[in-house]
């Protein structure tokens, strides 16, 4: 088990709703962005003397631009239905991590400056001035929300705390209080093209390396093309897919599927990133600017279709926002939705029968599937509601013999966040990440014990990175996390692939 300088939650038999422990996470404050990071995104470098005034102005502006914010500020009845729904509350016991209490950090300021009751009877309605103390709470607790929307499913009015934490982060950015992790990464996307800051030549190298690996393993020349003009399909995938484990095994899988389907495809060095951290900081403009990279790449390369790789929030931006932010897509082939998810493509090929699948290749595993929160609660796949649950499972079951679901109240629309989404995947928030993963870890443990599950598949770059990092704290092994297309890759027998009885030695020679 990994060592921690904080208490790792125990995985009890039943998921208990803890008693509140006020202030339990008050100490955890993610690193603030340096002035140059904020400025690169068009925000002031640092807090000014009159930040309070600026913040209230910004809030007024946001209230006029976002119906969600305006309606949600007014509509909460403090029923408490959401209080036990957030993985961060369950894992940390800090009452300010209860969705409604997180919203209240903004609501009390909203009431003070924008409502009759709060202006004249602040105590009565729980309104307060926007003090430094309140701002500190905002910074801490709006960066302890992974914007997973689990609370929104269970709220009778659909109040979505993610909308509120996004708005809060935008307001903080507008007064010069940005967080380092997200803002630095967005800067990298603008400067270099992806979150990891991998320049074009490095990408090329990596992709060549992948081609060699696949050739060595299969004897088939599967291509991983970059910047190929005139290709039919543009694949946009999270940059973690280029080298992180188990992400890269997924990328290998996409390439094999495209190869077998016989389609022409390419990636782009200009849009070498599916992730869009503009969403995490609630900044429409930054999110739009990042999305426009995909449009430019599609136009420059002259592709007909766009497909996104495995990534949760990237799929949200792609599925739900891309048409708004970078459309209209009238120059693409109208026979396909824009964009498509790689799983929609792969399932289509499986159903058409173009893929030669040997399920037994995955017989060393008993699998379960983690529904990524953004995919589950903010997007769809296919043409029916809920396709986002069925399509990944259909693909997994088509390539694996052993599959079981985790308990019903922890999957699909009720899925628990991995604990690292929403711009929190940074080492300085490790305590939060480990504690927030507890409900998912508990669910995984239950199927491990009951059904002998050995591996958990995920379709999100953040989920995969987060799980491989935190799972050891709970006594699991990081190799237990796999990409869905890694499973596809394992089971997919390419045309002309070396037959199995060739011994390992010859493979090693080639390598």
């Amino acid at each position: 088990m990994a060592k921690a300088n904080f208490e790792v939650p125990e995985l009890k038999e039943h998921l208990e709703v803890p008693k509140i422990e006020p202030g339990a996470m008050a100490h955890l404050e993610t690193f603030k962005a340096k002035p140059e990071f904020n400025e690169a995104l068009g925000f002031p470098g640092e807090l000014s003397e009159n930040w309070q005034e600026q913040a209230i102005d910004a809030m007024g502006d946001m209230l006029k631009k976002y119906r969600s914010l305006q309606v949600y500020m007014d509509s909460c009845v403090k029923c408490g239905a959401c209080t036990d729904k957030c993985h961060y509350y369950l894992g940390t016991k800090d009452p300010k991590n209860m969705p409604v209490a997180r919203q209240d950090l903004m609501r009390k300021v909203y009431r003070r400056y924008f409502t009759f009751g709060g202006k004249f009877f602040p105590k009565l309605v729980g309104a307060t001035d926007f003090t430094q103390e309140v701002l500190d709470d905002w910074y801490n607790y709006y960066h302890q929300c992974s914007q997973c929307r689990r609370c929104s499913v269970f709220c009778p009015y659909g109040i979505d705390t993610a909308e509120i934490s996004m708005a809060a982060r935008e307001i903080m950015d507008r007064i010069g209080l940005g967080d380092k992790y997200s803002n630095e990464i967005i800067g990298k996307v603008f400067r270099i093209g992806n979150n990891l800051g991998l320049p074009g030549p490095a990408l090329e190298d990596t992709l060549e390396g992948l081609e060699e690996d696949v050739f060595d393993e299969t004897g088939v020349e599967v291509k991983y093309p970059l910047d190929v003009k005139g290709a039919d399909i543009l694949l946009v995938t999270p940059s973690a897919d280029f080298f992180a484990e188990p992400h890269v095994d997924g990328l290998i899988g996409y390439g094999k599927v495209f190869h077998e389907a016989g389609v022409s495809w390419t990636m782009s060095s200009h849009a070498s990133e599916a992730a869009n951290f503009g969403m995490f900081i609630g900044s429409y403009e930054n999110m739009r600017k990042i999305s426009q990279r995909v449009r430019k790449a599609a136009l420059d390369l002259g592709v007909k279709r766009i497909i996104f790789g495995e990534c949760g929030h990237a799929w949200r931006v792609a599925y739900a926002f891309l048409n708004t932010l970078a459309g209209p897509w009238d120059f693409l082939d109208p026979d396909y939705p824009v964009p498509q998810h790689i799983l929609e493509f792969t399932l289509g090929e499986i159903e058409k029968g173009t893929l030669n699948i040997d399920k037994s290749q995955n017989d060393d595993m008993v699998l379960t599937f983690h529904d990524s929160c953004n995919v589950a609660r903010a997007t769809r796949m296919g043409d029916k509601p809920g396709g986002q649950f069925e399509i990944p499972r259909a693909v997994i079951k088509a390539v694996c013999n052993n599959y079981v679901d985790m308990p019903e109240d922890t999957i699909r629309e009720a899925t628990f966040c991995c604990g690292g989404g929403g711009g929190l995947l940074t080492d300085d928030l490790m305590e939060l990440r480990v504690k927030g993963a507890m409900p998912r870890m508990k669910a995984l443990k239950s199927v491990t014990e009951e059904y002998g599950v050995t591996h958990m598949a995920a379709i999100c770059a953040i989920c995969k990175s987060q799980f491989t990092k935190v799972i050891p704290y709970y006594g699991f092994d990081m190799d237990q996390i796999v990409s869905v297309h890694q499973l596809v890759s394992n089971a997919l027998i390419l045309k002309g692939q070396n037959s199995e009885d060739e011994d390992d030695e010859s493979e090693e020679d080639a390598a």
Binding site: K19, I20, P22, K64, K65, R67, S68, Q70, V71, Y72, D74, S75, C76, K78, C79, G80, A81, T83, P95, M98, V100, A101, D104, T115, F116, G117, K123, V125, G126, R149, S152, V153, F154, C155, P156, Y157, G158, I159, D160, Y284, Y319, A320, F321, N323, T324, G327, P337, V338, P339, A376, R377, A378, T379, R380, K384, P385, G386, Q388, F389, E413
Partner: protein, 241 residues
Amino acid sequence: MSLAITVLFYLATVILIAGLAYRIWVYAKVPAPLKIATTPAPVTKGGVVLRMFREVAFFESLFKSNKLLWLLGVLFHFGLLLVLLRHLRYFINPVPTVIELIQPFGKYAAFAMIIGLLGLWARRFIIDRVRYITAPSDHLILALLVLIGISGASMTFVSHTDIVGLKNFTMGLLTFDPKPLPSDPLLAIHLFLVSVLMIIFPYSKLLHGVGVFFSPTRNQVDNPREKRHLADWARKFEENS
């Protein structure tokens, strides 16, 4: 007394209607710039109407969330609904048969309403998480509703009020031809509290009754790939790119 209640009632009605109209106008005017339906969501408008209906008629999300809270919420809201329907007999002449038929149910619905309210109130003391998020105004609104319920039910079950005189009074209100209110302290208290409730309605969390219809996570059609969605304020970005 009669005059004071008459004036207050008119004032409360104006504030309620004007306040609600203003809030609805604000909500309708603010755009939702992005598609944020909580999925799985309906892919057609008809589907959204159904989803909203299930939400308002059955409290679907609350049911998923917490069965006891759901039960208390249902007892209170549907109790209140029946009680309100029953009250229509004071405002319509002659009383329609449906309203006549509801009367016996409406009478006892008052108890459902009060029990629901007391249960909801108890949660604010018993459950530490709910206690934490409760503000004084939450207690006051509950107190107000409970008192309205008790004062109203007392007039049915404890000391009958002068129904004929009351109907005379309410019809007078409706026709702007004020008639005296029967002198009954319970009735005066009841009407006073109801007026207060009407006045705070547009300025308090009671707005959830309106807000739910405007909630983008619930009222949006899940069709972002098929149909481009663009807010007016976001159009300016289109021009400079």
